[in-house]
């Protein structure tokens, strides 16, 4: 069963201390290594800040392309992890060990369907 961990955290306006960034990267690398070693990691992606995002909408059938995220909230989606585990408890157990939990919230969301070589496959 696949679960996506949606990592939400506040974005820092100022430049971060490079040492802090490096430490966070090390923690994250070690975390994904553990996931990989346990055979549960499907994919992982850390996103660029929402200042670099672009949002599309249709308004009265006309395309609106705007800079910025779809919702201007304090916390922004900062990355995703897709895990393949037995059940919600296993997913929660992995999520609680994720380094981004220290600076934000992690949403554990079960997947519905996903593609395998382009073909939709139910998640179970």
């Amino acid at each position: 069963m696949r679960y996506t961990l949606l990592m939400h955290y506040p974005e820092v306006a100022d430049e971060l201390d490079p040492a802090m960034i490096e430490e966070a990267q090390r923690a994250f690398a070690s975390y994904t290594e553990t996931l990989e070693g346990a055979g549960v990691l499907v994919s992982a992606e850390v996103l660029q800040p929402s200042t670099n995002t672009t949002t599309l909408r249709l308004e009265d059938g006309a395309l609106q392309v705007q800079d910025g995220p779809f919702a201007d909230t304090k916390d922004q989606l900062g990355g995703t992890l897709v895990l393949d585990v037995d059940d919600l408890d296993a997913a929660i157990d992995w999520a609680r060990q994720a380094p981004p939990l220290a600076w934000g919230a992690i949403e554990v969301r079960p997947g519905a369907v996903y593609t395998v070589a382009g073909a939709w496959t139910p998640n179970d």
Partner: protein, 442 residues
Amino acid sequence: MDAERLTAPDRDAHAAAACTAAARAARESYGRLVALLAASTGDLALAEDALADAFERALRTWPESGVPDNPDGWLLTVARNRERDEWKSAARRRTVPLPTDDAPGPTDAAAAAPASDAPARAPSLGHDPLADVDPDRIPDRRLELLFTCAHPAIDASVRTPLMLQAVLGFEASEVARAFAVPAATMAQRLVRAKRRIREARIPFAVPDRHAMPERLPPVLEAIYGCAALDWRGGAADPAGEAQYLAVVLAGLLEHEPEAWALAALTTLALARRGPDAAGFVPLDEQDPSTWDAASIDEGDAYLRRAARERGRLATPGRFELEAAIQSVHCARRTGTTDWAALRTLYDALLATAPSLGAEVARAVVVGRLDGPEAGLAALPGEASGFQPWWAARADLLERAGRADEAAGAFRRAADLASDPAVREHLAARAERAAGSGPAQPG
């Protein structure tokens, strides 16, 4: 005892006791079967539906064929077949091919065995997870079910209703009445929670030792929440059901002190209730001879077990302290109330699990030990909407001889009381206090 010599009320009492025992036995079976059926598929709603079908078939066929030697085993087999049919048709609706589409009946062990490459939990692929359950020895999976119902991923407000329905077999409408919400609303909440269990795949499992400290409290809270319900005129008695669940939980977990403490707390609370009293009688005025001595002994035994499981080095938990407070009150049947012990226990309770209710109760105890003015001083700052605060204040004021103020406080408490019997009692005390006040002429 000879049945003919029973008086009519005795006979009624016996009949009522027999009914309660029968209902309890039926619910015990029901909970065990639902737990087993749900734990194997992860689908609580399907387990309940399948079991309902099995019961319906039993009602149709048993009167003719006779009750089978092992009714639970019979029900399990029928429900299991029903679940299996459901998986098959659900699987057919998908595009995934069925490996055992033309398999023989589900009792055929070979057909029911999982395909070698089938995932552990994929009943839709023809795997019958109950294939190796011996109907003569049905394992008790109710513990797993309790942990699922009170899973942190389930909305806290629906945990107790879910337990009442899944573990005890109450209809959604009965649960709705207990929670004073419309039946359709409750039914919808229950359906949503069960869908969530299935679709997010909340497991039916007893948490590991490392997760137990965070997973047990919500289970205890949900059972405790059941005890606090007001189920007047309903089909069941929430305090009794809570006590039953607490005892089942403690027995299945074996070594959890707070589970035994909750069993003690709910048992002692039940013991003091006495027969269906016509009105509300405060603890002080209850006649200890009306209390159920056997239940008090049972509750005290659970409390000793809780202390033993905790060990001398650990601090008693919240439920153990609350149960100990109940036990001190119950000890009045053989002596007097040990107010000093109560103060110690409330101090410990406030340190462990601070609450407005405990603070108010402690002030009442202080009032008994050091006089009503000291009790009033110990009351927390005004809690305008909290009925026990007003009732405690009123009682302390009355004891201090401040009758007018007492009458006002009793009236305020009565206005805030949700239980009609409690409201009536408080209103009567307000009147009594007003009548004895110096401002009242004559």
